[in-house]
């Protein structure tokens, strides 16, 4: 009994207390004192188990509070802010350190108290968690000193930060110390940062916001948008750094992000309209640095970028079109200049997107959209094509001439031309790649394909390719950029076929040599091509060949029949060509001519000096009126030569001026003029651009494009319907564009017409309840 009393609270507490106080004050505690404290706590908890522990707890609280009160007094002795902060931080640091030591001896108390509170053993968990004594200490601090002076603490800290913002230096540890006390003070296990968030963070944000709210408008007004942006950007960076320093950055704490957002709001969002108003002008002025700055600022604002994208787009369209239009005069007649101008624009706009907007994908999309607009614009096209090609798609909207010019440019690079001779192989390759780049933006790619194929046909038939390896590379590149496979395959097939034809020509010559017909072998080359690979429609163009030529035909046909089975041949004199000698009063010349041109001039062989009427030439050659006009015109007005092969009377300004009675004769004074001197010998090419099609078939060709588009559209609609079974109008349209975009952009009108056609022909029908829904009919 006696012994037990000894271990009661009343007995023991006075022995424990001095040590507790020493610990609080951070006075030195001897080892024996320290151990005795453990012992005593243990005894009280074990033997005075009813009243002991709560009373120890209570006594502890009183002492802690007492201690805190003194601390508070010491802190509040300082009037000046930074001294106050310094004092507070010092006290807090001491106290916080003790928060780890003082609870240690009271381990037993913890266990007893928690077991009492919740008999179901949660003790284990509690040990890991915040200890009760520690909680007691922190809570007490929070309730007394902290609640009493936190406003002053915060205000002082914020004052310091404010001073720093204004450029005054001070000990940043003061603010950091305050923050740490806030962060560590909370004993709420749910949200350890609660006190920090509700007080420190909030007041930091409020102070920041207030600071800039006052300052920003003044600065903007005084210095203008451009300087303001620089200032705001700097301020944002500064604040971010400051936040990293003064705000809590432990994982899971979003203070810094929240502060940044707050700054962006005050500094940028607030003045969004004013800043953006300058964007268009800056783009125009190519002020990339400033745009870069604006981009950086606006990118932080929700939807801040959208107006900039719009400005960029508008700039590209208007600038691009202005440039194209101002250069219209020479770019429309020169496909090289045209393509170069387009590429130049592309490079410029890309440079802008890269310098000002760091190639941000959103800006690149805008660039693409706008550039597409420029490429496909028809204002240059209209300028360029007054009435000359009125046949082209007169039933549909006019389209950009771009694909045709691109194809022409390709031809100049791939054919033996002054241009392709001047350039190195790498340069040509680079330019071809550029063409492909622009082609990507062209909507009516089918027009490009048609022209490209025509040019290729010409090059292969006339053997004028500059580099056959490059030709075949080009085919692969076209495949790579997504040109329709059937088109690309057809091109590849033409190459294969021309090789087959070369072999055949050799065999033909060998056979002739064997039969001692060397003369024919010397004169004639044959190209017998697969109609499937080269052209579908085989329009017959009648021509009566001169005997000199006609005689060779059976020879070829016979040879071919021996070689092949089940094939029929169709002569394509439109494409045939050759070299003839021309002797006149001046000298002897070699002329490279088409078979039609041969047919015409050979008519004079029997009467070299005669003047022959148009009508008679028509009879002699059997050429269609329009073809004869064209052929004669090429002999009368071949560009770039001073003396023409054929002369006529009365004078004609165009092929249309010829009448049946117009007289034609061979120019006996024809000569080649070189450096102002007449030449007696020489060679000239009068073929010019080989006409692959006749005038009539050209119109049909254009209609063919429209027709093909209709079929492709129908085909694609059916394909989609078959897959989807049921689809809305809007979705159908967008899928359709996706499928067809490598060939052409289907117009809304055409899509509608084709849908109607397909409905009429029972490929699909409209949903009865929803007219915008289509259903596939198998």
């Amino acid at each position: 009994m006696m012994k037990k009393d000894e271990w009661q609270f009343e007995e023991k507490w006075p022995k424990m207390r001095p040590c507790v106080l020493k610990l609080l004050r951070q006075d030195s505690v001897s080892r024996s004192e320290w151990q005795e404290l453990f012992m005593n706590v243990h005894l009280v908890c074990l033997w005075d188990d009813r009243n002991g522990p709560p009373r120890v707890h209570e006594a502890l609280r009183t002492d802690i509070l007492d201690f805190i009160e003194q601390a508070q007094k010491r802190v509040l002795d300082h009037q000046e802010d930074s001294a106050l902060l310094k004092a507070y931080i010092a006290e807090w640091k001491k106290f916080f350190t003790q928060c780890t030591y003082l609870p240690l001896p009271f381990g037993q108390l913890e266990t007893t108290l928690t077991n009492k509170a919740s008999p179901s053993s949660q003790s284990k968990k509690n040990q890991n968690d915040e200890s009760i004594v520690r909680k007691l200490m922190l809570d007490s601090w929070n309730e007394s000193i902290f609640s009493a002076i936190k406003q002053r603490l915060q205000d002082s800290a914020m004052k310091l930060v404010h001073a720093e913002r204004n450029g005054e230096a001070f000990d940043s540890q003061l603010v950091i110390g305050v923050r740490e006390s806030y962060v560590n003070l909370c004993s709420d296990p749910e949200d350890k940062l609660k006190i920090y968030k509700e007080n420190f963070e909030k007041s930091y944000m409020d102070a920041t916001e207030a600071f800039y709210k006052a300052k920003a408008p003044l600065y903007l007004q005084a210095n203008g948008v451009q300087n303001y942006m620089r200032w705001a950007d700097l301020a944002l960076k500064e604040e971010e750094q400051r936040a990293m320093k003064y705000l809590e950055t432990r994982p899971g704490c979003t203070s810094v992000a929240a502060l940044t957002e707050c700054c962006v709001n005050v500094l940028v969002t607030e003045f969004k309209e004013q800043i953006l108003a300058e964007c268009a002008e800056m783009i125009k002025g190519n002020e990339t640095d400033r745009l870069q700055l604006m981009f950086k600022l606006m990118d932080r604002v929700p939807d801040g970028i959208a107006p900039m994208l719009k400005d960029l787009e508008e700039h590209i369209v208007s600038q691009g079109l202005a440039d194209m239009n101002s250069a219209a005069e020479f770019i429309t007649s020169d496909s090289e200049k045209y393509v170069e101008q387009l590429l130049d624009l592309f490079t410029r706009f890309s440079q802008l997107a890269s310098d000002a907007f760091s190639d941000d994908p959103r800006f690149l999309t805008s660039r693409d959209k706008a550039y597409k607009h420029v490429v496909n614009d028809i204002s240059v096209f209209k300028l360029e094509l007054p009435t000359k090609q009125k046949g082209i798609q007169n039933k549909t909207q006019p389209e950009s001439k771009c694909p045709e010019l691109l194809a022409n440019f390709c031809d100049m690079l791939l054919r033996k031309t002054p241009l392709s001779k001047r350039l190195t192989s790498d340069e040509i390759e680079g330019k071809l790649k550029n063409v492909l780049l622009v082609l990507k933006y062209v909507q009516n790619k089918d027009v490009f394909m048609r022209y490209h194929k025509a040019h290729l046909t010409r090059r292969l038939i006339l053997d004028t390719s500059a580099d056959s390896e490059k030709e075949e590379n080009m085919v692969e590149w076209l495949r790579e950029v997504g040109m329709p496979a059937d088109f690309v395959n057809k091109l590849a097939r033409m190459f294969q076929d021309i090789k087959v034809s070369q072999t055949l020509n050799q065999e033909f010559k060998d056979a002739l040599y064997l039969n001692s017909k060397e003369i024919i072998a010397d004169y004639v080359n044959i190209k017998i091509l697969n109609a499937g690979a080269w052209m579908r429609s085989s329009e017959r163009v009648p021509v009566s060949l001169p005997r000199e030529l006609e005689d060779y035909i059976p020879e070829v046909e016979e040879f071919y029949k021996r070689k092949h089975n089940g094939r029929k041949l169709q002569w394509h004199h439109v494409m045939s060509n050759g070299i003839i000698t021309f002797c006149n009063e001046v000298g002897r010349f070699d002329l490279e001519v088409t078979t039609f041109q041969m047919a015409v001039v050979f008519a004079w062989n029997q009467r070299p000096k005669d003047k022959i009427t148009f009508e008679n030439l028509k009879l002699a050659t059997q050429l269609q009126d329009i073809e004869l006009r064209r052929t004669l015109w090429s002999l009368i007005a071949f560009p770039k030569i001073k003396r023409q092969v054929v002369l006529c009377e009365p004078e004609a300004r165009s092929p249309k001026d010829f009448t049946d009675a117009t007289l034609f004769w061979i120019n006996q004074k024809f000569a080649l003029v070189k450096n102002g001197k007449m030449q007696q010998r020489g060679k000239i090419n009068l073929i010019g651009r080989l006409q692959l099609s006749t005038e009539k078939s050209k119109e049909e060709d254009n209609e063919g494009i429209v027709q093909l588009r209709i079929l492709r559209t129908q085909e694609a609609i059916v394909k989609i319907m078959k897959m989807r079974k049921k689809i809305t109008n809007a979705q159908l349209q967008s899928e359709l564009v996706e499928i067809l975009k490598n060939m052409f952009l289907p117009s809304k009108k055409m899509i509608k017409e084709q849908i109607e056609w397909l409905i009429e022909h029972r490929y699909m029908h409209r949903d009865e309840d929803n007219i915008n829904m289509f259903i596939y009919m198998a």
Binding site: N565, S576, Q606
Partner: protein, 111 residues
């Protein structure tokens, strides 16, 4: 009348045309002629009834395997024509012409 005149002239001229070596005699003489012709299978119907591809194109099978040259056309006694590849597969199942149902007898193979 004019037609006749023309023909006459051509014939008159033809006497000394044959040998082109006599260049000085003639105002225009031939030096080189590059003749272009297109060949196609001599068929009545240009689509193969078996694979539904035009006979001038290779059949679907050969398109897939990219065999251009081997894909020829065959004619039966009935004068119907198909891709040779298509027909030889067809004959494994059915010895009749798919179009006229007559017993298939090979007339020619294209080459």
């Amino acid at each position: 009348m004019a037609d006749d005149e023309k023909r006459e002239q051509m014939e008159v001229g033809s006497g000394d045309v044959d040998i082109n070596d006599k260049k000085p005699d003639k105002m225009f003489g031939l030096k080189k002629w590059n003749l272009v012709a297109m060949w196609s299978w001599d068929v009545e119907c240009d689509t193969c009834a078996i694979c539904r591809v035009q006979v001038m194109d290779t059949c679907l099978r050969c398109q897939a395997e990219n065999k251009q040259q081997e894909c020829v056309v065959v004619w039966g006694e009935c004068n119907h024509s198909f891709h040779n590849c298509c027909m030889s597969l067809w004959l494994k199942q059915n010895n009749r012409c798919p179009l006229c149902q007559q017993e298939w007898a090979l007339q020619t193979t294209g080459k």
